[in-house]
Each structure stands twice: as structure tokens, then as C-alpha cells.
Amino acid sequence: MSKQAGKGGAGKGKKPAKAGTDEKREDVLQAVIIADYFQDRFKPFTLDKPRCLLPLVNVPVIEYTLEFLASNGVQDVFIYCGAHSEDIEDYIYASTRWSPSSAISPFSSLEFIRVSDATSVGDFLRDLDKRGVIAGDFLLVHGDLVANIQLDAALAKHRARREANRDACMTVVLRSVGDEPHRAAKARGITPVFIIDPDSGRCLQYDEAHPLMSDRRTVIDPSVFDHGSFEVRSDLIDCGIDICTPEVLALWSESFDYELPRKNFLHGVLKDWELNGKFIYTEIFEDGYAARASNLQMYDCISKDILQRWAIPFVPDSNLMHDQSYRKVSGNCYFETGVKVERGAKVSHSAVGAKTMIKTGSSVTSSVLGRRCRIGQNVTIKDSYIFDDAIIEDGAYINHSILAGSVVIGANTQVPEGSLLSYNVHIDSEIQLPSKPPARIAVTTDSGDEAEPDVSLVGKGGKGANYEVHVDDSDSDSEDEGDRDPAVLQNGLIYSMEGLNISTLSVSTFASEDDYESDDDMGHTGYLHSGDSAGRERLSSFTSDDASKPDAFHGDAVTGLVDALRADDNEDFDSAKLEFMGLRLANNASDTEMRRAIAVAFTRRAAEFLTPEHGSLEPSKAAEKALKDKNGAIKFITDVGVGGDDVRQQAEFALAVQKGLVSVRGLESGRAGALLAAMLQQLYSLDVLEEDGILAWWADKRASEGETMNKVKEKCRVLVEWLENADEEESDEDDDE
């Protein structure tokens, strides 16, 4: 690890009164800015520039963060940079306002810290702990924060709590957004769920929910119930501002595998509350503005909020940067000096940078244009963000897209919703960019090389090629593993579940297939209510520190089983079973997970037989083949998959099979239903499932949740009725005897 000794030391000496004497030192408010995120969400823009230097309404994002800290009277600032750290440093040193050597900097010191081998935010904070530069309470913020809230009251409360109880180590600052949240709250892919004691504000549990979870359920730790009153809140924006004591850093150091401040750290510390005895509190703001430009959708929202003055004083006409000269003009626009709008051009609800020219007939709505842009005649620009020096030629149409610096758009070219064009991309005239999925075009590749121009995409005179988002790259990290699925939602500018299927294709088959049941809901709520150990076990496996574990088990187990089922030889199924049990032990997987994995494997195999490549078998044949092909497979299902004669377990397995079928890709629900009926019938005739088990499944409400589930289930009605009749007949016969 190398430390870039900032010129901050020089700044310190300069203003003795501000920095204070040594005994006053503790009274100085320190702040740590995390300026790297180890994420790909802003690619391809972040290929050339760090995220915190991307312009947000024509001001680099980090300016907002620094201004926020200055407005809260922060004196010492430490900035942790990762990728593009030189760029950030150069930017700060060149800034007249923030440079540590500048006499007018509001901070008495500003230091950059580089950690060469960091792969996550956790590594930064562990490094900070080692350095011992933090004297007292400090603010932990991210370099993409836009907030105008005043923290004085929260700081005072935090201090009071800390004095009352040394273990009150952290206060999480949140903004309440209500039941019908503003777009900024809707845009986030992940909804944080806080369980809070309403009286003290103490945070009892933290979880994350996202739309890809099948059940949208949060499992409440039983210990929460011991606490008396508590609130479960999912109406909060987590703006990533933490008021911390140095003990927080010690906690980070203790848990060397924590990577993310929320998903890992907050969740983990709260879960292990009995072990570490630390209290974490929340401070919920009812007014003020706070949000993080953490993905492109948030970038979009925050830009709009700034234009609509929600983030006062962060509005263009505050001219926070020295060289800015925005003025408000009619039509809710902000123009810098030297903006030329020809007669006949319409501009509304937009911010336009200096020396930009807009020719006649063009219309610009709800957009941000950078400096020195040239907009031709009859151009339409809607809801878009265009950085400096872009050239848009006559007749082009740009809708809800981001165009980075020096982009050239040829005449009459259409840029549809969601397109992302990185720096220096040229698009020829008369080109229609694809809309599904929206184009991401860059002139460089991940490795930094020049990309070969993709003529079919950008036209003959164009520059740039399609940029593929690789989630599992080596430089992408940790966060992706943990929340790969929601990250997919956050990748684009447009929030769309529809686009999801397309983008997951490039991610990985497993991840996408398992999305629908990634956080399984195989009926453990019942366990939880009774509070028995199974519930706890389930909880801990879901909430374990290494969030990727259950998924890893599931993926490996399913692959292993499907491979064994596909194998041509007539080998016994025992080896597959052995492998499966080994995996189970290695991952400490729960019964539920095993059941799910087995069900998914068999249904997938059965579904395969329906496809033309495998002979387009009838559902009944397919079910039989999948289940009976291998010796011992049935025994395996009976022993491991169902795991007992209990009616409830049988019902669970039937439910797992149903869910497995619903999630199989490319299987329409009618076929899936037929296959399900066939499989259940096979399982019945093979004595794996008994009547009672199937009837219990039929009665289970969870089996008819959602449209597809219901459709699939309906197909089994005949089977169930037959079973019921058989049952009656049997009993009739019994009576007769």
C-alpha cells in the first residue's frame, strides 16, 4: 500500500485558527470520502473518467459532495480513490477552491489516500483504521453524494448517545420518502429495509430487498421481537451518510471479509449484536435533500431534481463553481453567458452551458447541455444529458440518453431512449441506433485500447463500437457477486424489468434462471413463527456474511445433478448423490436449499426433453424419462429431496418442482403445467409423493401465488381430482368391507 502524502500538511499550518490548537483538535469534524465504488454501473463513461468527475448538471459530482461537507463545517477531509485516482487528485489540486494549498479552501486539510490493493470499500476502511488519523467522530460519505441537509442536530444527538453509552458507535443518516415515493426513491433497484426502534431510533436489523426476489419478504430475526416496539421501514432513501466513531473502523478491521458498508457491515454488525455489543442508530430526516448518484437512474433523477430546485442551494444559478455564470431565464431554463438560441428554437426546463448554440427549429426539453455544444436545426432533444463540446447535426432526434463529451451525432440520426454514448463517439448521419437493448457505445474497450469502429452500428464515418457490460470481470468486484441481480436493474439509464431478460443473457445463465427464486421462499415463514431452530438455520444461511454462499451451492448443485442426469452411460446415480452431499456439507446448505436444487435439476432435465433437440417428447414421456432414466434417482429424490414421509415435506417438494418449472426459461406455462402434472403423477406412482402430500400442496396458498404459478397449477386439477376420487373410492371400498 502506498500513501500519497497530500499537500494537506501545508494547508494545515496556514490557518491556525481554523485548525485549532491541539486540545481543540478533537473538536474538529473530520470526513472520509469514498471516491471509488468498484462497480461498473457508469460504464462506458467511467472508462475515461472517474465517476465522481462526471458532470451532474455540468458540475463534477464530487463538487456537490465537497460543498456538502463544507456547508456542514467539516475541517479535515480524507479522500480514498481507486480507479483513475490521478485524475481525481489532479482535479482537486487544480481547483482553486479545494486545493489543499489554496488559501481559500474551507477545509483546513485535505488528503488523498491511495490503497493499491484495495478491492472493496471495506479495504479502504480497514486501511483507514491502520493509519490512525481519525481522532473523533467523523462523517463517512461517498463521492457521489448530493445533499443539502444540515447535520448539526444529528451530530449533537450522536454525541449525546455516545457519551451515555460508549457502544453507540454509528448513526446512519436517512431521508424518509413516504409511501408513494418520488422518482428518486423508485429508481433504486435495491430497497433498503430498516427495522428501527421508533423511540430511540436504534436500528435493529438491516436487509435489502429488490424486485428480483420472488417473495419480497424480509425475515425478521426473532431477537427483534424481544425488543418491544419496532418499525419496519422500507420508505427510506439511504444516502450513504454515516456519522461514525473510530470504533466503527475497528469493527471493519475485525471482520476482514466485509466489503460493503450496508449489505455486509451494517447487516453483519446488527446481526451479531450479541457478540459485539455495538449499537447503531438512525437519524431520519423528513425534509431536505439527500441522494447518491450511485447509478445512471439516480443520475437521471438527481439531475431533474436539481433542475427543479429540490436540492437548493444546489441549483445551476447558485453558480457553485467559480467559473460558472448561470442565470435563470424564462421557461424554467438556466443559461450561462454566451448561450445562443436562435429564433424559432424552443428550450424549456433545461440547463445550457456557456457558448452553446442552438439553431432554429430545434427543441430542447428537460435536458442538460454542456458548454460549447452545437445543436443544428430541427433537432429534438428530450430528457437527455449532453456533456461539453458535443455536436448534434440537423434533424437529429435524441430521447432520454446520455451523450458524453465531444460526441458527434450526424444529421437525421435517431438516438432512442436509454442510449449511452461515451466520449468521442461519432455517429454517422441517417443512422437509427437500436432501442432494445439500448446502445452503449464507446471508442475504447475495457483494456483501454481503441475499439474497432463497428460500421453497422455507427455508420461509415462513425467512431466507436458497442460496449459490452461484463459483470464478472476481474476488475469488477465484490458488489456484483453479492447483488448481481439488482445490479442488473441498475445498469442502464432506464429502469425496466423488460430489458432485464435481455441483459441477463450476457450475465450468466445461472444467475438469471435463479433470479426468480434466488432468495427462496420454500415455506420457512411457518418455521419462523414457531420460532424453532429450523427458522434460525434458514435465517443464518440467508443472512450469512458471505452472501454468495447459498447461490454458489445452488448453482453448483444444480449443474452437477443436471450433468449426471444427462450423462449417457448407465452409471448409477450414487456418485452424483455423493457429490451432492459433499457440496451440501461444504456449503452448510439447509434442507430447503437441497430440496430446491434437486427440484430445479429434475425439472430442468424434464423440460429439456420437451425441446426439439431432445426429441420433443410428450410431457408424460419426458417426466418419466427424467425421473426413471437413472437408477437410484428416485431413491435419491425420496431420501434427499423429500427427506421424509411427512406430508408437509412432500408438499414442499411438490411446490419446489412447481417453482422449478415456472422458472425454466422458454417453457410456456401451458406446457409447464402439463409437465408438472406428468411429473407429479410419476412421483405418485413411484411412491415418492403420497396423495396427502399432493393434496397438501394443492391446498397450499403459495402454490397459487402469481399468474404463472396459478396457470401451471390449474393444469394439475385433473390429477388432483382423480386423486381425490381415488381416495374416496378407497374409503368407499373400506366402508364396504
Binding site: A17, L29, G73, H182, D287, W310, S318, K328
Partner: protein, 429 residues
């Protein structure tokens, strides 16, 4: 340890405290950002501007009046540009500019007067000017040699203590010097005198700022009569003081109109402190929401507004929502009284932007929690309203109640013609 828990957020008081320890540039810059972040606003701007200009005069380097004017102008326009919606800043800058001009010409006048006087006195001894122009001619009196010395040393940058000594001598002793020095090369003696006089002037101005509210309040019992019903629209500090002062003399009823929607969860009724104080004097208070205001207007005897700025045409910048109240008052022929200290009187007409008015944060009216509304509506929350002159009946300044035609003479008393034309917003010194 108690004061350790003071707030971290910067404020006007903290800024004033930090003035001594910071360089001039850093102070100006930090004030600019306080203004941009709205952490200093309204009446505070006037005080802050006066403090800044005091520092500029006292600490920056200047050798003659023009340089000083330049310095003040450039610092002033930087502040004014940082807060284009605070016309008070421009007023204070113009006042200080006027002050400097006045002191400078006064000096000259004194010099001239004294010069002619002394000349006539000395005429007997020496021919006017000519001998002095030649410089180091043996002086007729020891005093005169003493006086010559500083002039000669001017170019050499006399150390300050020395400088003080001489200039003090110059002032207290015979004023002979004036006659002997040409005005164009302002000599250190007068530079220093000018500096201290301007500083004194600015301090007087600051006193004026701090006393303005009290002075305005002293006219309250003339305006408010027993058993009056007074409508106070979003009473500012000035209006509050005015009412409290009146309450100590008179029995009347105050209707407090408030356009701010009451935030859910707010524990205090608005203006609780003011109401308590008024009640303790036996004055009845009634809280009104703005939308109920019309119904009460016929019952009201007069309407009081606190001005943010008063323009030369008599137009007034007030809190948003006041326009409706003023319209209603006019409809029912109720007098509208505007409280505005002299320093809020702008020697210019309102710009178009003022009339359009500044926009604030929409969250005052639509909660962030109300997603569908935000998406569907375009929300403009104006921070201030402009009252055209026709809606205002009386202006109460710290010099007493004024009518519109009289504003011009107050303006003429307080601003120099040279400074009125000088536009703060566009100059890029």
C-alpha cells in the same frame, strides 16, 4: 467541555469571529460561499457586507482614493454576484462607496479650505504654492519641515508606526500641509486619515444596521392605535420588534398570517415566541392561514409587511404570498404599511428578474413523499413577491414614516450619483 458541543455548521457569527484569523481573500471567499449556500441571507447580508468592506478598507493595499474605490467595487460586486437576489448587498456597497467619496472630497475640501485659509495666513510670509512646489526649500517654520517629510517619504513606504506619528502630527498640528500637496498624488497622511475615517464611517453604518429595527419600532405607537386590528404578514424580525414595542404602549389585536403549510410533526405553532411576548403585554393574537386571509381583511385596520428591499420607484420586495394580502387590503381600502430601514432602499428600479422573483425549494408545498404529484406537476415556489408602488401607502424607515415621493430625497441623501449608475452585477473587475 460544554462549549465543545457547539454546532459545526458555518454561520454569520462564526464567520465574523474568523475574520481576524483569516486572510482577507479567504474571508471574502468563505462569505461568498455562505451566500451561495444561503447560510447567510436576508438582513444578515447587510451586516456581512459591511464587515467585508471594513476588512477591505482596513487590510487591503491602496494608495489613493481611486484604488480604494476599485477594491471596494470589486469585492462588492463579487458578493453581489454570489447572491443576486439580495439587493441589500448592493446598497451597502454603494453606501460605502459614497462614504469613501464623501470622505475623500471632504478631505480635499478641508485641505482646500485650510489651504486657502493658511494661504491667506501665510501669504504674508511666502508666496502661495510656488515655494512649496520646489520641494526642499528651507522652510520658514520647523513645523513645515516636519510636514514635508512624510510627503517625501511616501514613495519609500514609511513603516506604519512612523507614518502614524507623522500623520497624527499633521492632523493635530497646523493644517498647513494641505496647501502644499497636489491632490492627484494622495499623500500618505491623507491616505491614512482617509482609511481611518472610512473605517469609522463603516462602523457608523454598522451601528445604523443594528439599530435600524429599534428605530423603526420607536414609530410603532404612532402607527398603531388602541383597539386596532393589525394584520402582520409573516412577521420578520423587524415587524416582530415593531409589534412588541407597540404592545408595550397600546392594546390591540394582531392577526399573524402565515403561508407556510404546517409541517406534519411540527410541535410548535408558528411564531410561538412572538405570540407569547405579545400576549404577555395583553395583546390578543390570532394565527391565520393565508387562504383565510380574505375573510379577515374587512375587519382589519391596517396591514404590515417587512420589506426585503424597497426600490426607488416605491416598489417593495416582500415574502411570497404578500402580494395577495396587499391586493386584498387595497380592495378594502386598508392602509398598507411597509417597514424597511434606509439601508434597504435601493437606488435603482427592480430588474425583470426581481419581478419574476426567485424560486425556492418546492418541498415547502409538495412533500417529497408525494411521488405522483411531483411527476405530474410543475411546482414553482416563489421565495419573494414584488409589490408595485401603487399597493403601498406608508413606508416606515428608521428615519420615520415616509411617503413615496419622499423616498427620492432619502436616496439622494444616502447615495452618490456616481454609484447609482454603477451596476454591481455586470462588472467583472
Amino acid at each position: 467541555m460544554a462549549p465543545v458541543h457547539a454546532a459545526y455548521a458555518p454561520s454569520l457569527d462564526k464567520w465574523i469571529k474568523s475574520l481576524r484569523s483569516q486572510s482577507l481573500e479567504a474571508s471574502i471567499e468563505s462569505l461568498i460561499y455562505l451566500l451561495k449556500r444561503r447560510q447567510v441571507k436576508g438582513d444578515e447580508c447587510a451586516t456581512a457586507t459591511a464587515h467585508t468592506l471594513l476588512q477591505v478598507v482596513a487590510r487591503s493595499k491602496w494608495h489613493d482614493v481611486d484604488q480604494l474605490l476599485n477594491r471596494v467595487q470589486s469585492a462588492g460586486s463579487r458578493l453581489a454576484r454570489a447572491a443576486p437576489n439580495e439587493p441589500v448587498i448592493g446598497n451597502i456597497v454603494r453606501r460605502v462607496l459614497g462614504l469613501i467619496r464623501e470622505e475623500a472630497t471632504e478631505d480635499r475640501n478641508i485641505d482646500d479650505d485650510v489651504g486657502s485659509e493658511s494661504a491667506s495666513d501665510i501669504q504674508a510670509l511666502t508666496p502661495v504654492n510656488a515655494p512649496n512646489q520646489q520641494g526642499n526649500r528651507p522652510a520658514p517654520t520647523p513645523v513645515q519641515t516636519l510636514q514635508r517629510a512624510p510627503t517625501g517619504l511616501a514613495g519609500l513606504q514609511v513603516s506604519k508606526s512612523m507614518f502614524n506619528l507623522f500623520s497624527a502630527a499633521g492632523n493635530s498640528d497646523t493644517p498647513l500641509t494641505g496647501a502644499s500637496t497636489p491632490l492627484s498624488q494622495a499623500q500618505p497622511a491623507s491616505v491614512h486619515a482617509l482609511r481611518s475615517e472610512v473605517i469609522e464611517g463603516i462602523q457608523e453604518l454598522m451601528d445604523e444596521l443594528s439599530q435600524a429595527d429599534d428605530q423603526i419600532a420607536s414609530f410603532s405607537d404612532i402607527q398603531i392605535h388602541p383597539d386596532d386590528y393589525v394584520l402582520a404578514y409573516q412577521p420578520s424580525k423587524t415587524v416582530e420588534r415593531f409589534l412588541i414595542k407597540a404592545a408595550s404602549r397600546r392594546r390591540f389585536t394582531v392577526l399573524i398570517a402565515n403561508s407556510e403549510p404546517i409541517q406534519p410533526g411540527a410541535t410548535e405553532t408558528p411564531y410561538a415566541v412572538l405570540r407569547k411576548k405579545l400576549n404577555s403585554h395583553g395583546v390578543t393574537t390570532i394565527n391565520l392561514a393565508t387562504n383565510a386571509l380574505m375573510a379577515y381583511i374587512p375587519r382589519v385596520n391596517k396591514v404590515i409587511f417587512g420589506a426585503k428591499a424597497v426600490y426607488q420607484n416605491g416598489g417593495v420586495l416582500v415574502d411570497s404570498g404578500a402580494y395577495i394580502a396587499a391586493e386584498a387590503a387595497q380592495e378594502f381600502l386598508k392602509p398598507v404599511i411597509v417597514l424597511g430601514a434606509v439601508y434597504k432602499l435601493c437606488p435603482e428600479d427592480p430588474s425583470d428578474e426581481t419581478v419574476i422573483s426567485e424560486l425556492g425549494n418546492p418541498s415547502r408545498f409538495v412533500s417529497y413523499a408525494n411521488g405522483p404529484e411531483i411527476d405530474a406537476l410543475e411546482i414553482e415556489n416563489t421565495v419573494s413577491d414584488y409589490l408595485p408602488p401603487s399597493l403601498v401607502d406608508v413606508y416606515i424607515t428608521n428615519l420615520g414614516p415616509q411617503s413615496r415621493p419622499h423616498l427620492a430625497s432619502i436616496l439622494a441623501d444616502h447615495y452618490k450619483v456616481e454609484d447609482i449608475g454603477y451596476s454591481l452585477h455586470e462588472s467583472e473587475v
